[in-house]
Symmetry: D3
Subunit: 239 residues, 6 copies
């Protein structure tokens, strides 16, 4: 049972990370997982949200969105509808939480970094591409912040990457594209640190419940994928 | 290291399920996990959302919300703010997805069941209580639907329950209350069917990343908790 | 012409007031007028709205809302619709105004009490039950405030209760349930203090205009009902 | 104790009704109660709201609003704020309900008349001026509808007018202007038919509760005022 | 080819400016271009928007809106829809920009003037009537401000007026009414100072593109119209 | 007085048009005017808006938006604010109007094409880049539509391009970048067809009013710029 694009079950799509795609942002990356393209921008601002003022600690947050025609059929703009949908909210929160896992807020001081992840083209795995690309943008923004504000310690405590895995007709696969994602029985997104520990595990039975053995196989597959992505992030940041 | 309410690490809080708490709803339950109280109502309506019309299949959806003073300090009403927050969206989606895992939409016919889960009092675990209570309301609503519309087959394919687990100061614990939840390093919500298979696994590193061994311990704890809740659901529905 | 539930024309439905139904709120009551159930919570906060700052006076406000399945057929959530309907606004304003009639704002100091009245189940008279229950919650919140902030004078200047009256097929009746309310020619809500003076009188010709004699009969009926409710409030607060 | 504009306690302000102030509307009136100016427009449309379709009955509804600088200090536009305030909602509902009291919906057929009451300048009593002026606009719109659609019976079953009354420093007064309204202990709006029966009575204790004798005095005053307004409506419509 | 109301191609409709139509506003004018009637109110407030604080400079802004039945068929209220349409936004911005062209913000000091332009009746040219009338209201508000705040220099640096021009069946015409506007091939709004220089030129090919010669003819026509309107403004302000 | 990027006054920035940048859209182009980058996508849908149904005519509309970090300092997302700003509305309308000028709606049949113009990076002239790029996307979408729906006639009646011009310290310049735009006394956007006729002329006195001679110079400059852009569009579409 071949994959639609001929990959082996444990193979990532071609991944490219174009660092500093934007001129204004303090950090940015255009990340591609096959046909999925997400533009990640990190913006540094002085100050923190009201509820955090006076703590001496910084804040990192994220906003995820899709362009109307990033998808196969055009979707209505959330700005035109006047409200943000549940899926958008959920992914924005996931991206923010994932990136905060590698931040030392004390070291940051009272600064805020906002990670804007805008999907220019969607073909499955947009949230995992967003997390993986946002890390690159965040790393550059932290470098900028550290230099400009003379921070003593590095506010980054590690790296973070994410990938999707799923079971299609009984076969566990890495990095699903849209076609695969839409027919998966089980779908899991895993966010892991560079050292292989988990930051977030979200497994959902789309078609049929999954057992412990399925779960274990999927986690193995995902950790291997995250390790590859970690290498690609390092190369991009070394470039 | 004792738990704040004296429980053992693998002990649920006292759980009570008051079936048919509401007069109008086709199914309802007031569920309590200790001081957490969630009112679950299932409403049966003819017809399905536009995108599902003509398929012959039904639909199940959920809306979760908290009363303003269910919490320790009063929260602003989302109706007054004019928009629904990300957390509310995220939990509503989780509850709906979890319940849909045990529904045969073909057997339902073109009917919609909406599960309203309103938190009257919150002390941690509101989303897992909501799922567990919503199943009881759903079971009664399906019974009503089956009888009123002469459905040939049972649209329910199993039962579903949910519980939270977490690691506090290195100790894995079942069914966290608010105090425990707010200091957990890792926090996981597990939704399982009555037969022990997973419907949803959501693990988040709040304070520190977690490794494979942590994950395994938490999953064991959660499955045992879900099994107990499944028994309590059966008793409530037998009553 | 008997009433649907067998009451005499000047008889209230069974009324129960469960004080302190909530753990977190500074005052709370679950009030039932027959099948109508309203959860009233009073929240004390330091400070007052911007337009009142620096006056040395406190503020009392109310928010009324119905759970989606409190009614016979499910109503859409106002938070999901993104706006509050006219009826909700109107009743929230009425409840707030009614309670403010028994408050000495100078004695309160610059504190705000918000009364949340959430209808868990509706069978007519929800706004009058809300006012009657909110008074009990307010009394406890004022007691809390007085003690915590060492207030010299009692900020409560009296008690307040409310009831509906109406004319059905020519017969004046006290405390209409939903069935009666929906066929009433004239419908009136009366809010009165414990000493029998009026705080608010709202009479509406639903089906046919009413004359002065009708009005007089309805006011007599309402004042008698409010006197009974005042007694029940006293008992609840003495408990 | 003289009134600020020298009127006797039972005297209306100068009232002028300019019929057909607008060119496009099927009925319209610019009504002035002293410095209060409300532009009332009646728009006839075929069809009725969804919930009324197929009943053969018409519908009448109203929308009330204030221009930003109708008042002493500029108020923010509700369209700019993105939501309608409680007071606006409440008055729109009152105006609609009051006008519906004199309409035979069967005789109207499935048509809708919308009454737009826009306050151009405010000096107290805007809601009562709106009701009184809207009746004139409605009468012309009904005439138009009857002729254009060949209605057999007159859809208007009577006339309706409204006035405010209140107690200022113990003195009952008719038709309060803004200055008086802002210091009234008790404030009442009365809507009456041309034959003197009540359509709506809304009395509110702003400063102090009121007793039965106060209520009776205010009702007498209001009915006399409404009778005068009924005459002025007749004159305007005869013009 | 005669114009629908018998005017010559370069003739304005009858224009009347009723200064001080409102009692509360610091400046106001009811302006009529034929059947188009716009009520313009200027409100003076201390302080400026946040982004301008501390600059010592004032601010002038405008809000344009149409009453629901100003038009031939009733339009939904933007406050009820909960959002402002693109056309409203566009015209509000145009009016504000046009008036700011004749203001010396330094001379104003940190004060804000808001120009509310509400269309009571629409028959084409509402935006140009709004600008022309708003200037009269602004002039009075500036006079008020200068006196009350003892401003040394006149914050007004000139006058501003506006008119529409268009090509209908090949014929260039001044000040289009609605009938003409709806069939114009080219439609242009010109805002000019009293000295004949341009503040804004907005030409749109509604039906067919226009060439340089068309443009020149329309500009001549518009400048002549603006000169006439400037005279009428002077007369109104001298009155 | 040199331009910040060394161009001559009548020189465009380097313009690149990458056709078919997106995989899903029926037509698309990434257009760059120097550092300004706009992604233009054309989406073909069957059917037309309600008000146009049954006319046999098609419709073309546009939505313009900026990514939050396209600009020098991050702007809040309009979807998060819950409403679209005036500038966004105004530009969306301009883009739609400009493209409709070259469409034969009868020839299109009842289909709708939506042009999404999303600014990925902003450095002045985003609206003119959007129009110029949207034409390329539209041309491809029309080709697709013509083929798929077997349209007899070409729905495109010409080409359209746009450019900004302005006066900086007395010097007229073509295609302003952000730095120039922010200090221009006069700012004009010109939309022209391939044959040199005007579709839209929008001139605004930002700092000082402009006279007829200024206007003439700016129009000459703009028409020359549009002619160059027309050539670039042709080359892109020939590619």
């Amino acid at each position: 049972m071949a994959r639609p694009d001929g990959r082996t079950p444990n193979q990532l799509r071609p991944v490219t990370i174009t660092r500093n795609w934007l001129r204004h942002a303090e950090g940015s990356a255009l990340i591609e997982f096959g046909d999925t393209r997400v533009l990640c921008a990190a913006s540094v601002e002085d100050g923190v949200p009201r509820w955090r003022r006076g703590t001496g600690e910084g804040w990192v947050t994220a906003e995820y969105a899709m362009l109307p025609r990033s998808t196969d059929t055009r979707g209505a703009r959330e700005s035109v509808k006047g409200k943000i949908g549940g899926r958008t909210h959920e992914i924005s929160r996931l991206v923010g939480r994932s990136l905060r896992a590698v931040v030392d807020f004390k070291a940051m001081g009272e600064h805020t970094i906002t990670l804007d992840c805008d999907v220019l083209q969607a073909d499955g795995g947009t949230r995992t591409a967003a997390i993986t690309g946002a890390y690159v943008a965040l790393a550059d923004a932290m470098k900028y912040l550290r230099k400009r504000r003379n921070l003593k310690n590095n506010p980054l405590t590690g790296s973070v990457a994410a990938v999707s895995v799923g079971i299609i007709q009984g076969q566990p696969r890495l990095d699903l594209n849209y076609l695969e994602d839409s027919v998966a029985q089980t779908d899991m997104n895993v966010v892991a640190m560079g050292d292989g520990r988990f930051v977030e595990v979200q497994g959902t039975a789309e078609g049929a419940p999954f057992d412990r053995a399925d779960l274990d196989t999927l986690l193995d597959l995902a950790l291997a994928g995250c390790a590859e992505l970690t290498d690609l992030q390092k190369k991009a940041l070394a470039g």
